[in-house]
């Protein structure tokens, strides 16, 4: 099956090229092609995860075989963690694209929208699959350039300003990442993850390696909008069209921020406790400050965007706790519990935050406002939006039996077992903050007295939008199954294994 791995990049890239060319002459071409492509890729990633027997699929671009155990080709590697991320990207991409079928009517350039969406997905799939440092940078830039254009898609004042801000900060982040990649090449004379990791292991703890790690933490931290670097996120994510907000908040910051960071720090560098403490600290800071900032927002999408910072903080903190425990030689069970909690929260956040942004888009589609004070009593007129939004709010707030509860529970248990009582207390506290902000959203949007009666005589959203939201609402509930034995072994455990057996990655690639 390893011949199928490049399809994840090639197919969306090719459709991004074909859509503007053919879509001009053939109506419905852009929509149907995007949907078909993303559905196919979702099925492909699911089929990998379900038939997976723990083996790593690697495709050598150009067909160059390893010479004396030195990898020469550019590798595209599909293992448990990549499969997990690729599944999130394509599943959410499909649902957002399906939602966009009717949402995007209010914009003119449909072809460009779908082409940019495909380009962004190609870039993110590339980041998730690549096994080469410079290739990581290239795919990352493909994804972010498409996202810059998509943030500015409405070309109104706010969109343009948000996009400019995003581009300047994103540009600095890319420069720092490229610098880090260059430094790794200078130190190891290789760009392959596996090869670099064996050489970096000999330099573990040297000042140069620490310097590179700091550069990469800052670069990917900017891309993931961790707290000292978060300034662009609320603007960019709230200005984009709603299906794109769902993709940016649900997938992009994780695929090119968190995923790239953990892949490099677990599988390329030797885990050092200093960097682990840094990641835990910025994760905890993001969690708390993002939550506090979200409380005072009245713009729905800005509230969700700040809450994204907070929830991604949970993920980073959990992964950081796992790294600290591994670096200090602590119990493997605790470390794998923390990492499982982080990854589980990552996929949960992708689904519920994607759903919340789609709900915000549905409200904007009907009553054309994002201000909570101007909404009210929508539950009566928009039952699908209201009920799915309720599910998502409960999931993000961590109310059982929704999936968000189990992931937060895992993170808190891991923090307590690892001896990080302060962090566990913070996680509980921020969970309370999260409940309060989503209570506010529910109350003002769906249950309060209507702001103006005549405006509220509206219908629910059209079928494609409702369909995507309902699917994601159901996912919010049934994803809690992921943590139970039987289902856990299919999706979550392979991803955790890749990070726990961090040196196995290098041995597998070099042994090919």
């Amino acid at each position: 099956m390893s011949e199928l791995v490049p399809l994840f990049v090639v197919i969306p890239l090719a459709s991004a090229f074909l859509i503007p060319v053919i879509g001009r002459f053939v109506p419905w071409f852009q929509k149907s092609l995007t949907l078909l492509v993303l559905l196919f890729l979702t099925i492909l990633s699911l089929s990998y995860l379900f038939t997976n027997t723990g083996e790593t699929l690697a495709y050598k671009v150009g067909g160059w075989e390893n010479v004396e155990h030195v990898p020469i080709a550019i590798f595209l590697v599909l293992d448990g963690l990549s499969g997990f991320i690729v599944l999130i990207i394509n599943m959410l991409g499909f649902l957002s694209a399906f939602y966009a079928v009717s949402y995007i009517n209010k914009y003119t350039a449909e072809n460009n929208f779908y082409a940019l969406l495909c380009l962004m997905i190609a870039g993110m799939n590339g980041v998730a699959l690549t096994g080469d440092l410079f290739n990581l940078y290239v795919f990352l830039e493909i994804a972010v350039i498409a996202s810059y254009a998509l943030v500015a898609f409405g070309i109104e004042r706010n969109q343009l300003e948000a996009s400019f801000k995003y581009q300047v900060l994103g540009g600095i982040a890319s420069i720092l990442i490229l610098f880090g990649v260059g430094m790794i090449y200078w130190l190891t004379k290789t760009l392959n993850f596996a090869d670099a990791s064996t050489i970096l292991a000999q330099h573990a703890g040297s000042p140069t390696v620490t310097f590179i790690q700091v550069m990469l933490v800052v670069g990917f931290g900017l891309k993931a909008a961790m707290i000292p670097f978060h300034a662009w996120l609320p603007d960019a994510h709230s200005s984009a069209p709603s299906p794109i907000s769902a993709m940016l908040s649900g997938v992009l910051i994780k695929a090119i921020g968190i995923y790239a960071l953990i892949r490099l720090f677990f599988n390329v560098f030797t885990i050092s406790s200093e960097i682990a403490i840094v990641i835990t600290t910025i994760g905890a800071l993001s969690m708390v400050i993002g939550g506090l900032l979200a409380l005072r927002q009245w713009d729905v999408k800005r509230l969700f965007a700040f809450s994204s910072i907070s929830q991604v903080g949970y993920v980073a903190m959990a992964i950081g706790i796992g790294m600290i425990v591994i670096a200090r030689g602590g119990s493997q069970t605790v470390a794998s519990l923390a990492i499982a909690g982080g990854l589980f929260h990552l996929i949960n956040h992708a689904v519920f935050k994607g759903l919340l942004f789609l709900n915000a888009g549905a409200i904007e589609y009907r009553i054309n406002t994002r201000n909570l004070k101007e909404m009210g009593n929508l539950a009566q007129f928009m039952p699908w939006t209201a009920s799915t939004s309720f599910g998502a709010s409960m999931s993000v707030a961590g109310i059982p039996p929704f999936a968000g509860f189990f992931s937060k529970l895992l993170i808190i248990i891991a923090a307590i077992k690892g001896g990080f009582f302060f962090l566990a207390a913070l996680a509980v506290l921020v969970s309370v903050l999260t409940i309060s902000m989503y209570m506010k959203y529910q109350r003002y949007a769906f249950f309060n007295k209507a702001h103006s009666e005549d405006r509220m005589k509206i219908k629910d959203v059209p079928f494609p939008m409702a369909f995507s939201m309902v699917i994601m609402g159901v996912l919010c509930l049934i994803m809690s199954l992921l943590i139970f034995p039987g289902v856990r072994e299919i999706i979550l455990d392979p991803a955790v294994d890749v990070l726990m057996k961090s040196s196995a990655y290098a041995t597998t690639i070099i042994g090919m």
Binding site: A152, Q167, S174
Partner: protein
């Protein structure tokens, strides 16, 4: 060593431009300068004093060749830099059409 320090100086010049300038075009120029300083650093990584270009002609005099891989990387990175700069400038021009100014202080409707 001096060349490496000059790279760093160039990086700082670009960063200074991005941080202090108010004009959007100058911010874009600052970013481009930062990018170019990194490109120079990448080329320097592969450079070896007294080595030849890595082209096999059958008449090489030196035994050492410079590393060609960073050069390939820089070529790719320049193309990517072109795309990001074009994107930035396109947005800057759109902002100018909307606000009638390039001054970043006057483009402040969002609160960050």
């Amino acid at each position: 060593m001096i060349v490496y320090s000059l790279c760093f100086v160039l990086f700082m010049v670009g960063l200074y431009g991005v941080v202090t300038r108010r004009n959007m075009i100058k911010i874009v120029i600052g970013l481009a300068i930062m990018e170019i300083s990194i490109f120079m650093f990448l080329v320097l990584i592969g450079y070896i004093q007294g080595a030849e270009a890595p082209i096999i002609t059958g008449h090489e005099t030196a035994v050492q060749f410079v590393d060609p891989l960073p050069q390939a990387m820089v070529l790719t990175a320049i193309v990517i830099g072109l795309a990001t700069n074009a994107m930035l400038l396109a947005i800057a021009i759109r902002i100018y059409k909307n606000y009638g100014t390039f001054d970043i202080r006057k483009v402040n409707e969002l609160k960050g």
